[in-house]
Structures are given as structure tokens and as C-alpha cells.
């Protein structure tokens, strides 16, 4: 049995290590890494006449992704990527704007109330995401009070609903991911060193300066952790755009899904999936770098 504390290695220790980690590692490698690798390989295959991948390997799927198809070049995929990015940034931004003060408020509440308040924030996310979407479908459908109000205000055409629409998608994303921002922010607010606020005031900072220098830097690690937890899944979100968007303005997740679940072009879908993974990784790397640069300790981030 290897010593939990010691750094010594040996055959017995190796056996111990393997006994513990092998099931997990093998599980993930066989049931996730291998499928992912297979999917990636599909991206380089030829699209068969009915959408299934075939040999030989080609770049065709990536060409199609870049916009080259039977029609010559088309910007349709750029629309999709752009729409996805805008929704992601918008949703993340809104989530921050809502979660920041709320997390602060919870952290200042009496200690015995805090678990309850956190629970109240988290509980909706214990239901299934499809169920959360139904709620919004109910609320935003045509003829509901909210839709009528929006129509009366001239925000939408009369007789139309707020759902399905891009607005409903944004709202659904914000709703879905709010708890993932509140929790890490709460964690940093809870151990906020208020002496830094005092120090800023003591050194001549006004309200804004005290916030900018006494509060914001301390909460950055939480903000970044929250951003990772919100932006990355929002970027790949499928259910909400699909249900609340009416299937008319595709986002990346639906574009990928459709190549497997409807339109049938597996290589194209796989190529788009590859791009999604790369974009996700790039986003993660950037956020981690940013986190380190801004002085968050490595443990805070995923």
C-alpha cells in the first residue's frame, strides 16, 4: 500500500495506483475518448450518398464548413457561428450582471439564512433542462400576458409570441446558467477581505475606486470560474435554442445535431463538432491564462 503522504514509488505503489485509477481511466478512455476520436475521424471522411461516412479521407467536410458547397461560397455557417457567439456573450454578460449583486447580497445575509438562499438559487437547476424550457414556453407563448404586453409596447408584432424567438433563447440561457455564476461568486464574496475596501478608502478612493480596487480584483477568480461554467456550456447548448428558438435560426449545437438527427451528413456534423471542441478548448485556455494573469490562484479554476 503506497503511503498517501510519501513520494516514493515502486511496483506495489504502481499496482495500487492502477487499481484505483484504472476503472475510471479506462471508462473515460473507452467510452468518451475513443468515441470522440472516432467522431473526429468521421470529420475527415467522405459523405456517402445518404449521409453516412465513407472512405476515402478528404477535407470536403471542412470545405463545406468554410462555406463552399454546391452553391459556391455562402456565409450561412458564419451566421451560425456569429449567432452562437452573440448569444453566448449576451447570456454570459446578463448572467454576470444579475449574479454579481445577488451573490454579494447572499454573502452579506445572516449566516443561518445563507444555505437556504443558495438552495433557492440552485433548486430550479435540479429539474431537467427540458422542463425548465417548458416553463418559458408556457410563459412566452402567443396570447400570454407577457406576449401581449410586449406587443402593446411595440416590441413584437401583435398576435405573435415572445416564443419562439432569439429573445426566448437568450432568456432561457440566462435562466439555465444563472446558478453556475452565483455559486463561484458567492464563494469569493464570502471570503472577501473587507480590509481592502477600507484600504482603498483610506488611501483616498471614492465609491467607484473602492469597488474597482477593493472589491473587483478579489472577485475576479470567481468571475472567471463562473464564466467558464456558463460560457462554455452556453456555447454548446442544444436544448434551449432548439425548444425556444423555433428551429429557424440555428445555433452551432443544432447545426451539429441536425447532421446526425435529420439532414444526415455525418462528416459535416463531425467537422462542426471538431470546431466546437477546439473553440471550447481555446476559450478555456484563454480564461485560464486570464485567471493566472489576474492573480487568481490555480485552484479556483477548473
Amino acid at each position: 500500500m503506497a503511503d498517501a503522504g510519501s513520494g516514493k514509488t515502486g511496483w506495489r505503489a504502481t499496482g495500487h495506483l492502477l487499481g484505483l485509477v484504472a476503472p475510471g481511466v479506462i471508462w473515460i478512455v473507452v467510452f468518451l475518448v475513443a468515441p470522440a476520436a472516432y467522431l473526429m475521424s468521421i470529420a475527415f471522411m467522405t459523405n456517402g450518398s445518404y449521409g453516412l461516412p465513407e472512405l476515402p479521407f478528404t477535407w470536403a467536410a471542412f470545405k463545406q464548413l468554410a462555406g463552399y458547397g454546391f452553391l459556391g461560397w455562402s456565409p450561412a455557417n458564419l451566421y451560425v457561428v456569429g449567432r452562437t457567439l452573440v448569444q453566448t456573450v449576451l447570456a454570459t454578460g446578463l448572467v454576470v450582471v444579475i449574479a454579481y449583486p445577488v451573490a454579494y447580497y447572499i454573502s452579506r445575509a445572516p449566516a443561518r439564512l445563507r444555505p437556504l438562499m443558495l438552495l433557492l438559487v440552485v433548486v430550479p437547476s435540479w429539474t431537467n433542462q427540458v422542463i425548465r424550457a417548458i416553463g418559458w414556453m408556457n410563459i412566452l407563448a402567443p396570447g400570454t400576458p407577457l406576449s401581449d404586453l410586449a406587443a402593446a409596447l411595440g416590441l413584437i408584432s401583435p398576435h405573435m409570441g415572445l416564443y419562439p424567438s432569439q429573445f426566448a433563447v437568450a432568456l432561457g440561457l440566462v435562466y439555465n446558467f444563472l446558478p453556475f455564476m452565483v455559486l463561484p461568486l458567492y464563494a469569493v464574496f464570502e471570503r472577501l477581505d473587507t480590509a481592502q475596501i477600507d484600504a482603498a478608502r483610506d488611501l483616498g478612493a471614492g465609491v467607484w475606486g473602492a469597488f474597482r480596487h477593493g472589491v473587483l480584483p478579489q472577485t475576479l477568480p470567481g468571475l472567471l470560474a463562473g464564466t467558464v461554467l456558463v460560457a462554455i456550456p452556453a456555447f454548446g447548448m442544444y436544448v434551449i435554442p432548439e425548444l425556444l428558438g423555433g428551429g429557424k435560426n440555428l445555433m452551432l449545437g443544432s447545426l451539429v445535431a441536425r447532421q446526425f438527427a435529420a439532414a444526415s451528413n455525418w462528416p459535416f456534423g463531425a467537422a462542426a463538432a471538431l470546431i466546437m471542441i477546439l473553440a471550447t478548448l481555446a476559450g478555456l485556455v484563454v480564461l485560464r491564462r486570464l485567471g493566472r494573469r489576474l492573480g487568481g490562484d490555480a485552484g479556483v479554476m477548473l
Binding site: Y50, L71, G247, K248, S264
Partner: protein, 333 residues
Amino acid sequence: AGKADTLYLFSWSQYMDPALIKAFEKRYDVDVVQNYYESMPEMFAKLQAGGAQQYDVIVPSNYYVPRLIDTGLIQALDKSKLGHLDNIAERFADPAYDSHNSYTVPYQWGDTGIAYNTDKLPDAPDSWAILFDPAINSDYPFALATDAQVVFGAACAWLGKPYDCTGRDAWKAAAREVLATKARDNFAAFNDGTPVLRQLARGNVAAGMTFNGDFTYYKSENPEAFKNIEFVVPKEGTELWVDVMAIPAKAPHPDLAHKFIDFLLEAKNGAQLSNHTYYASPNAAARPYLDDALTHPPAQPTPEQMKALHYIPSLSGDDLQFVQQLWTEVQSR
């Protein structure tokens, strides 16, 4: 549970009489597990992704049959196991999509039209204009179907071409028309034929593409909710379809599948099915048992309407790829 075997049926939703399932289960002491799809592309994708070895009986539409055969997703029928084959009406005995019914047996047939709300669109003509002409409906939300060929056919017909138009130029023109329609303020969503009826009833949309039988079924089930919903067969021409039964290539219980198909070919059972779904029956022997409703529109189109009805062409190769890319393009923009 506890039964000798299980039959996996993969079919359109709202397309089967539960009593028939019970009867079949009882006769052969088996369980029937049903799964549903709302469109052909959905079914085809599921079959490609492993479904071919999980379902025993599927119910595709005519224009998907050739590609199911081509891709080897369905198996040739063992006609020796189908004692009631002769019940099939002559018109359906040797169809273009499957000569001599080597792979398929017809299930039911019908047409695709438009259902709309007469309160909101009182002046609606029997035309694709309900969907494509902003002058007819400028305010109320409406939907188009999710199957590329179904929608492009409608656009072709609206643009004055035949519903079964083919050729890249025709499809491009159709795609442009769909894009323009999608860009309209009151375009709500892409909804499939059966679901859109519920959306109509709930008031979420005022018009959409649907099927004659489903419309009649809902209307008779729930007259109150559907009292203002009407169905038209657009005069510019629309789809005539035949849905068929087939057995996936690696079906787990091919024997039982044959039994099921033969069961539905029985005269009384064929009639019971149509009486339940309000779709016309391809079963000649069933005729005596059919309800009256099935002998006139909308279940049975008028001869005049018949002239404007077309099968959707079966596509493959580049043509299929072309249509699919075009459709992705339409949804992406």
C-alpha cells in the same frame, strides 16, 4: 413484461389504433413497444444510427423507400409469411418506389395540405398563398414543415411549377422563396405535420402544413378546440403519399414483424386502422368495413384534387446532397 417476445414498432406518431396493438399482443402473446417520429429525415437518421437492428417494423413514406433499399437498411419481405398479400388494392400492388412490393407493404395513404384558423384568416383561399403570400396573412404566426422536400415542393407549386419539381434551378428558386418567407415577422417556426395541429389548437400558430387524416382525427376527437380550424388541399398541387410497412435489415424479430404486417393486412384490421386514423386504406378487402367518413374529402380527395396530387420524387446522390445543403442553408441564415 413476462411475454414471450417483443415487437418494436417505429412509426409516425398518432398513426395507430391502440386497440389493434392490444389485439395483436393478445393473439401472439407478445409485447409491442412503440416509438415515434414526426418526419422522414428523423426516422432515417435514427435508423442509420443503430435503429436498423433495434426495430422490427417501420412505417416510411413512399419517397424514402428507394434510399432505404439502397442503403440496405431494410430487408426483402418473405412473402411466404404474408398470407393476406392479396388484400392489397391493385393500384398499390406494383408501385414505382418498390416494384412488386418486394420490400414493403402499403399501410395507408393520404395528402399533405394546409390547416388554418378561420377566425384569424377568414378570407383564406385553397392555395399555398395562405403560407407564402404576406397579403393573405400579414400578422398571424404560421409554420412550415421540417422536411426539405415537402417544403420545397410547396414553394415550387406556389411559384407555378409542379409540386414534384426537380432540378437545381427549381430548388434554388424554392429555397429563395422559403428564405423570404422565413424572414417575415410573423413566421413562427418549422413544425411537423402532426404537432402543428396542436399548435393550431392552442393558438400558437394560425396556419401550418399537415395531413388530411390527422386533421380529421383531431377535429372529431376535440370538436370544440378545432371548430375554427379548417383544412385545404392547395389548388396549385400538393403531396400524395403512401406510407408503407417495412422490416429493418437487422430487425431483432423478423418473424414477428412478418406476423404483424400480415395482421394489419387482414381485412377487418386494415379497416379498423383507417377508421381510427381517418386515412384512406390501400387494402381492397377492407373496403366493406370502412366508415362512411373515409369515402369523401378530406380522407378521400375529390377526383379534381387528385389531379393536382403528386408523389415526392425519390432523390439520391448529388441531387439529395444538393437539397440537403440548401435546406441547411435555409435554416442557418
